[in-house]
Symmetry: C2
Subunit: 104 residues, 2 copies
């Protein structure tokens, strides 16, 4: 038989644990969003450099045909689209976690 | 025969022209320093990317042998040294121009 105060004490721990889990989850989501933001910026940076490049790669100097350059840019833009989708998904998860925290 | 006031007027124009020339020169030097700063940063950025690269160029994906990589980094570091020397030289020219402006 659990006393009322014991039940209350246990309930309170559960709420605290839940808050802690949500807060930790939020920090993790923030971290992933930051990482994705970095990857998106790198990706955009590579696209810009490739667009400015002429007959050779501005970094290693190797020959860069028009065809190869278009292919690289195409792959980078596809990757950018996926990264942005993932960032949107994580942003929604974060809003959900923030909402749960506020509602208590 | 040039009157005293005419001489004074002419002298004053010359001083104004000199100030104008020094000021224009200063702006030009600032511009060149800004441009060099940009080139130095680009150069450092390329060195970092090449240092992180493994068997292929992170930009165009072509094979990047250890030897080729070292060669590229070596050339970039030489270029960086020249750019920095030029920036120092322009900095001294700027200090000289500023000094002349202050002395009047
Ligand atoms: Zn390359």
């Amino acid at each position: 038989f659990e006393s009322v105060s014991a039940i209350k004490e246990r309930e309170k721990m559960t709420v605290e644990e839940e808050i802690e889990a949500l807060t930790r989850g939020l920090r993790e989501l923030e971290g992933r969003m930051g990482e994705l933001g970095g990857k998106i910026r790198d990706n955009e940076d590579k696209v810009k450099r490739l667009e400015k490049a002429e007959a050779k790669c501005p970094l290693c100097g190797r020959e860069l045909t028009e065809e190869h350059r278009e292919k690289l840019i195409g792959e980078l833009l596809e990757e950018a689209a996926k990264l942005r989708e993932e960032k949107e998904r994580i942003k929604r998860e974060r809003e959900e976690a923030e909402r749960k925290l506020k509602e208590g």
